[in-house]
């Protein structure tokens, strides 16, 4: 992508303020896209429930959620295909109410790509520019530039049905970028691609985003896609954004059981708070068969029921007792799955609770080979787990 031409954004991508902090962490930063108490109802069904969200310039924001979580409806409201039942959407400070899709400074890349089957690749990309009344010579030049950027310069005369899935996806991307939108909406952009192509395209998307300085809003149900692409992730469930955070924080510090379970896999231990100090909590968990220590305080009522979330890769597994007083439990290996780069163990605790543990396969031949029905010790550090009150 390094040879690709640089395209000036319409409003000029101002360099981020001197601080190295991202915009969403700066006080008083102007959001580029502001979603204010937006609700969308279809009859009795509430698809989007009172969502407020600020997205900043040059962000690559991922709306992550399962099907029916309302993420696509939210995206369609940004594009103007749906009108909010209540609430406001402001793009660059302009209220979008009553502004039709063809007048918005927004372009969308559709999940199905929605390429016009009767037009060639070039004509597809040129479609938007021609509607704007751009001079013919400029249209030609910008289309060529854009097709070069997505490495399809040689296929301009083809019809969409003569292209592979990955090529179609790049045409769709070129078509949505050629008008230099302030805001680009992508609906499951990588959904139809195979794994290898996905990975390549993910990085390509990030490159394009950085190069053109467009603000991206991506909708996806694929947590891996969200993790690699996003500057921030908004996890959606039942029409509500459950958590908005950077990918790392969403994974390491989920704020609820839903987020913890939706992103990656997680072991949840139910328990009661026994001790709640500012810098640690002790939780009594029947499921874990003992006390669990977490090195961060929570604000909760004594004896409140909470869940301790523990990622499978943060657990150490071994036959010998690590001699650790806290966060060490015994169990029996029930199942082992060798997955190449890592092994997954399912360990049954005395309480009957099943714990998932993953270990990277450091050596080709592991010194201490674990097999079925081995008695093992599971242990983890005090900062590995998170207490979830919701």
């Amino acid at each position: 992508m390094t040879s690709s031409p640089m395209i000036n954004q319409q409003d000029g991508a101002e360099p981020v303020a001197n601080t190295s902090l991202p915009l969403w962490k700066q006080d008083g930063a102007e959001p580029f896209l502001r979603i204010e108490n937006v609700t969308k109802k279809f009859g009795e069904f509430t698809a989007v429930d009172n969502i407020s969200l600020d997205i900043y310039k040059n962000e690559l924001f991922c709306l992550l959620g399962g099907s029916g979580s309302g993420k696509s409806t939210l995206l369609r409201m940004l594009a103007g295909f749906e009108t909010p039942t209540s609430g406001r959407i402001l793009i660059d400070g302009v209220d979008m109410a009553g502004i039709q899709p063809w007048k918005r400074p927004v372009n969308m890349m559709f999940q199905s790509y929605a390429l016009f089957p009767h037009l060639s690749v070039e004509e597809n990309v040129a479609f938007g520019l021609k509607r704007e009344g751009v001079a013919r010579s400029e249209v030609k030049q910008r289309v060529a530039q854009m097709l070069d950027m997505v490495q399809l310069g040689h296929l301009g005369k083809r019809k969409p049905h003569q292209l592979s899935g990955g090529q179609r996806q790049r045409v769709a991307l070129a078509r949505s970028l050629v008008k230099r939108p302030k805001l680009l909406l992508l609906d499951e952009p990588l959904g139809a691609l195979d794994k290898k192509l996905r990975e390549e395209t993910q990085f390509e998307l990030i490159n394009i985003q950085e190069e053109l300085g467009v603000t991206f809003v991506v909708v996806t149900h694929d947590q891996e896609e969200a993790m690699t692409l996003a500057t921030r992730i908004g996890v959606m469930n039942h029409g509500v954004i459950v958590q908005t955070a950077e990918p790392h924080d969403v994974y390491e510090y989920p704020n609820s059981r839903f987020v913890a379970e939706f992103i990656g896999s997680v072991n949840l231990f139910e328990g009661k708070v026994v001790e709640d100090e500012p810098d640690f909590v002790r939780i009594k968990s029947k499921e874990a068969g003992g006390h669990l220590y977490v090195n961060h305080g929570i604000s909760c009522a004594p004896n409140q029921k909470v869940h301790v979330a523990l990622r499978p890769e943060k657990i150490r597994i071994g036959k010998t007792n690590p001699g650790q007083n806290e966060n060490c439990i015994k169990g029996i290996v029930e199942e082992i799955a060798y997955m190449g780069s890592l092994s997954v163990f399912r360990v049954r605790l005395e309480s009957g609770k099943e714990v998932r543990v993953t270990q990277p396969n450091f050596a080709r031949n592991m010194g201490e080979r674990l097999t079925w029905n081995d008695e093992v010790f599971l242990s983890w550090d005090v900062d590995s787990s998170v207490v979830l009150t919701a």
Binding site: V106, N107, F110, L115, F116, H118, F127, R131, E132, S176
Partner: protein
């Protein structure tokens, strides 16, 4: 060694068998399916066509049937006399009456095809965009008129359009006009009749084309800055093109040769080839001339259809 030859023999016979298998595996079911319509077309279309063509090359005669035969022979004198009369065809081009009738037919058929398209498109679009459960109902409503006699429905239009018919009475009653309009026995009435009669033939192919269309294409067009009217002409119409072509052919072809509608609704000056044909046949009893008119009409209709089909085939092959 013997094993080798044995296996070679088996291989050889195997491939030979495969050849016969190909013959044996002629799909008799498929053959029968194709044979039935082929035989049907041969008996009821191709042979009559040859008969008509033969008659068109003969001369009128006061006889039964009223034309001379092409072949005359006498076995005793040992002669066979083939007499081909091209006079009918020459006369077709000499007398501008026939040319006028052809042109007028094509004109009336073209205008009514375009009118039918304009009326049918919104109907087809609406049906294609309504919920699947309502589609069946709406489609059956489109086909419903076929359940009553075509002739009866054209007569009903006479009742609507005549001087003291429903339309005139209503307009007079509303005070929109002072004098009853002359609508019956005009080209206008013929257009109405054709549009009304052939509407389902236009709606159905349009519907099937529009129903297949991906609606996100329209959203994509809007997203790229196309107003609804623009995306209609740039996206919807091209996507519906196969349906438009099929529907137009289905309306245009029978409309060119239409006889009943111009006879009942049209005026004496509504010149259409179907009526000319009727007059030649039944009033003048000039069977050869009538046959020549029919043959030329067929050629006039078949040529453009073949051209359209050819171009369509090429487009699909690209």
């Amino acid at each position: 060694m013997s094993i080798q030859t044995g296996s070679a023999w088996v291989d050889g016979s195997g491939s030979r068998l495969a050849k016969y298998n190909f013959l044996r595996s002629i799909n008799w079911g498929r053959f029968a399916v194709l044979a039935v319509p082929s035989v049907w077309l041969a008996i009821f279309f191709f042979i009559p066509f040859l008969v008509v063509f033969k008659i068109s090359l003969s001369e009128t005669a006061i006889a039964v049937p009223p034309y001379s035969s092409l072949l005359e022979w006498d076995l005793e004198e040992a002669y066979v006399n083939l007499k081909i009369n091209l006079g009918n065809y020459l006369f077709l081009f000499e007398d501008t009456f026939y040319l006028d009738a052809y042109l007028s037919s094509v004109k009336i058929a073209s205008i009514s095809t375009i009118l039918t398209l304009i009326v049918a498109f919104p109907i087809a679009y609406l049906i294609a965009r309504s919920s699947p459960s309502r589609r069946a109902l709406l489609l059956s409503l489109v086909i419903l008129p076929f359940w009553t006699s075509f002739l009866l429905r054209v007569y009903a239009w006479m009742g609507f359009l005549k001087k003291n018919g429903l339309v005139n009475e209503t307009l007079l009653g509303l005070g929109i006009i002072d004098q009853p309009l002359t609508m019956l026995q005009t080209d206008f009435a013929v257009y109405i009749g054709i549009v009304y009669t052939y509407l389902p033939f236009m709606v159905l192919p349009l519907y099937s084309a529009l129903e297949k269309m991906d609606m996100t294409l329209l959203e994509a067009a809007e997203d790229l800055g196309a107003k609804p009217a623009t995306s209609f002409f740039l996206i919807t119409v091209p996507m519906a093109l196969p349906g438009i072509i099929a529907g137009c052919l289905l309306v245009f072809i029978p409309a060119v040769g239409e006889f009943v509608i111009p006879a009942l609704l049209g005026g004496s000056d509504t010149l259409m080839i179907g009526r000319v044909l009727w007059d030649e046949f039944f009033l003048n009893r000039d069977w050869p001339m009538a046959s020549a008119v029919a043959i030329v009409m067929l050629v006039v209709l078949v040529l453009p259809i073949m051209l359209i089909r050819n171009s369509q085939g090429k487009e699909e092959a690209v």
